[in-house]
Symmetry: C2
Subunit: 118 residues, 2 copies
DNA sequence: AATACTTATCGCAATATTGCGATATGGTAT
DNA sequence: ATACCATATCGCAATATTGCGATAAGTATT
């Protein structure tokens, strides 16, 4: 007798069983969950001007790799790119940054410091 | 003529080229970068008492899967487990939670809202 | 010792992520 | 048109993550 899993999604995150909020927080956290992306975000903030391919020089990563991290940050929405040929000017998306600030602030402040095991 | 990559680390995050701080932020962000872990953290906060295997009932995930997420959260240090046979009582680690609050607060507040492309 | 209970770990399958060389793309300048 | 420049995308290799059934490990109870 063989039982098949009702929806064979092996190894894939089961987003459908979580709330919108939980999925969004997880997505926003992905922006910060790789040191290269942290570095990119810090650079974009430090030079208020949006360094573009200069990122490739600053980081010791191949251009393709940097481009891919930028793509992921764009997918999340936390940065935006303005085409300014032949360059692309990247910068923080203020609205999504604010969303992240609220989201992380909300969850991080919700812990009052009370635990049972201490 | 063939050039070999000086350190053939294909597909592995190059932590050595980033700062301690950047790597730590990335690691702390991993605690929040999966909806199941967000849900677990929220549950641990909501019931100040540390629900243990109750997490398995609350979440629609197999016990093994929940256990693995707990292990990851423990590795990061943001939760701690107190063995209370036959159960294990999990709760937020206040010190590391505070570290996360500072770390995310620091980077999230460092953006002043100024961008070049808007 | 045997049983019951909870949690951790193993092993596997599948998908996701990371990194990068090579190449394509979209635009300017000559 | 051609050459050039910066960036995006492709394709590959390798590692990491996710999910879960099965099993092991640890302890309390009988």
């Amino acid at each position: 007798m063989v039982f098949l899993c009702y929806v064979c999604s092996m190894g894939v995150t089961r987003t459908e069983i979580f709330t919108e909020q939980q999925n969004r927080i997880a997505d926003l956290a992905k922006a910060f969950s790789h040191p290269a992306r942290v570095a990119i975000l810090q650079l974009l903030i430090a030079r208020k001007a949006c360094v573009c391919g200069d990122l490739v020089d600053e980081l010791e990563l191949a251009q393709a790799t940097v481009s891919q991290h930028l793509k992921e940050l764009k997918r999340i929405g936390i940065i935006q790119g303005e085409i300014n040929p032949p360059r692309v000017c990247y910068c923080i998306n203020p609205a999504v940054w604010e969303e992240a600030r609220r989201a992380f602030g909300s969850i991080l402040e919700s812990f009052e410091g009370v635990t049972c095991c201490n």
